[in-house]
């Protein structure tokens, strides 16, 4: 050991964010550092708190749908789906089967898009820029499909209470089929670029291990908990919409490190592609929505309904007091709990690892702040 007598060392505090390239939005991490080593992490959130829960008190049920788009802008379809599913369950509205199928198609396509976006930002976090653009290339194809269906690229407002707003155009099915044909090959291409890269392996294996006990204790959900060896997917465990009609697997991995969280999302993209394929093949004819009047008032009651969003469990707790506006809407999102466990798994790592761990948890800040 070097003689360190007389040399003074000092821990120092660093603000990572709110404007920092790798916090993916406006999150502040207050770090206590010993050189490169992160000794303590304190996440500060709320920089994107948009009070959607307050707004929801003053809007009718149908008017809230556009706001749900903006809760998780990377997977708007899934947020839509969670909300309309909750309202329909509370008011016992029957949804036509074609609408259910369309919802599943859109939700799963959006899951692929969201995972692609995650892959893009995650690789950028590790310093590789080129895979970012490759992932975005495929994402644009999905955006095209959404655009031809509902005219928007990011915030769709596609689902409504009782069904969906628009039917798919006739170009949609061939386009989707063609996309699903190329997607597995493209995912293999990312694997060629990244999975077999020794640098990526060194950077991710054994980093930020989240044990299954810890994952359960911190109420983690989504791919993050499945990478820790807990087989938990609401699509299988409590099937909503028509998910029980499709044949798909839930990828589970057991080490809970950054590498597993990376691999599991790649596997999930392949599984989602399978679901979309089956849903397109089995798409029934019929109505796309049940008529729900403009001045619709559900009866008094409450519901707690959750679905599997790309970032974990997304749930709505809605209380109706019999008027056309909900009394209270409480939104639970996957990122909210997943960000909470960051200090538990990322302390005593180097700052470069912290970036990788933060990226691997796939946190979208408006989901945390709402």
């Amino acid at each position: 050991m070097m003689e360190t007598k007389g040399l003074r060392t000092e821990e120092f505090m660093v603000n990572m964010g709110p404007q920092h390239p790798s916090t993916h939005g406006v999150c502040k991490l207050v770090l206590k550092m010993d050189g490169e080593l992160v000794k303590e992490i304190q996440p500060h959130v709320g920089y994107l708190h948009r009070s959607i829960e307050k707004i929801a008190e003053n809007r009718t049920y149908a008017q809230i749908v556009p706001f749900t788009d903006r809760i998780d802008y990377c997977a708007s379809m899934n947020s839509n789906h969670a909300y309309v599913e909750a309202v329909e369950r509370m008011a016992e509205v029957e949804v036509p089967e074609r609408a259910q199928y369309l919802r599943v198609i859109m939700a799963e396509l959006n899951r692929i898009a969201s995972h692609l976006l995650w892959l893009a930002t995650f690789t950028i976090d590790l310093g590789a820029v080129t895979p970012f653009l490759y992932a975005f290339r495929e994402r644009e194809e999905i955006m095209d499909m959404f655009e031809m269906t509902c005219g928007q690229r990011l915030t769709y407002n596609y689902m409504k209470i009782g069904g969906v707003n628009w039917d798919i155009p006739k170009e949609f099915v061939p386009k989707a089929k063609q996309f699903l044909k190329i997607l597995p090959g493209k995912v293999d291409e990312y694997e060629d670029l990244l999975t077999n890269n020794p640098i990526l392996l060194y950077r991710t294996k054994g980093i930020g291990v989240l044990s299954s006990e810890k994952a359960i204790e911190y109420s983690a959900s989504g791919p993050s908990i499945r990478a820790s060896g807990v087989r938990w997917d609401i699509r299988k465990a409590e099937p909503y919409a028509v998910y029980d009609k499709f044949d798909f697997n839930i990828p589970v991995r057991y080490n809970g490190d950054v590498w597993d969280r990376y691999k599991i999302r790649l596997d999930e993209m392949r599984e989602s592609a399978k679901i979309v394929e089956q849903a397109i093949d089995g798409l029934p004819e019929g109505d796309i929505a049940k008529k729900v009047p403009m001045t619709w008032k559900p009866k008094e009651g409450e519901v707690f309904c959750r679905i599997e969003a790309p970032r974990g469990e997304m749930a709505y707790h809605i209380i109706s007091d019999g008027t056309n506006k909900p009394y209270r809407v409480k939104i639970r999102t996957g990122s909210f709990c997943n960000l909470q466990l960051l200090p538990a798994i990322a302390t005593n790592h180097l700052i470069a690892d912290l970036v990788a761990i933060f990226g691997s948890l796939d946190i979208v800040l408006p989901e945390v702040d709402r």
């Binding site: 406006v26 948009r50 307050k54 802008y73 690229r153 990011l154 408006p366």
Partner: protein, 173 residues
């Protein structure tokens, strides 16, 4: 800044200086217009469309010479992409102050323009980024398409090309 902004004053004393000033002005404006480095700074939904998708292969900001910089010191352009909350507003002001002159701001999307869907019944959103920093170009939309972001940057280039030496940014007015 500094010397160059005073260039017209010195030049007037030289015979034929006026022509020289105009030429220099054109050249400097061209350089500033075609090399807008934007700050890597996203707030909400619009960041995906305005910064990521527009920077990606299909739309490609780089065609106009726009490159991202992570540090505000080296950036010329701040794209305020997304909802600006009261809590974030102070930080955005700091970031804007940290940028070096000449600097430009694009307000992207309904939220940055005036609060957008979060105008009514919302306690935490600032109703428009122009309440704290000067804005050069506004883009409507929620979120705007990448094409409209490109259009906005072209509009900003037009604006820069019409500027006179010495009156560069909105904040020096």
């Amino acid at each position: 800044m500094g010397v160059i902004s005073k260039l017209p004053v010195y030049m007037e004393k030289v015979p034929g200086g006026g022509i020289l000033t105009t030429t220099a002005e054109k050249f400097f404006n061209w350089s500033r217009a075609s090399s807008l480095w934007y700050m890597l700074f996203g707030l909400a939904c619009c960041a995906i469309e305005g910064l990521m998708a527009t920077g990606a292969s299909r739309y490609d900001f780089d065609r106009f010479g726009m490159m991202f910089r992570a540090s505000p010191r080296q950036a010329d352009l701040m794209i305020v992409a997304g909802t600006l909350t009261h809590k974030m507003a102070k930080r955005v002001k700091i970031l804007y102050d940290q940028m070096s002159e000449p600097k430009y701001v694009i307000a992207m999307g309904g939220c940055a323009n005036n609060g957008g869907p979060f105008y009514y019944d919302c306690y935490s959103v600032l109703k428009g980024v122009d309440k704290i920093i000067p804005v050069d170009v506004y883009i409507p939309g929620c979120p705007p398409r990448p094409e409209s972001v490109l259009e906005a940057s072209l509009k900003l280039q037009e604006k820069i090309k019409k500027q006179k030496l010495g009156e560069w940014s909105a904040s020096t007015e």
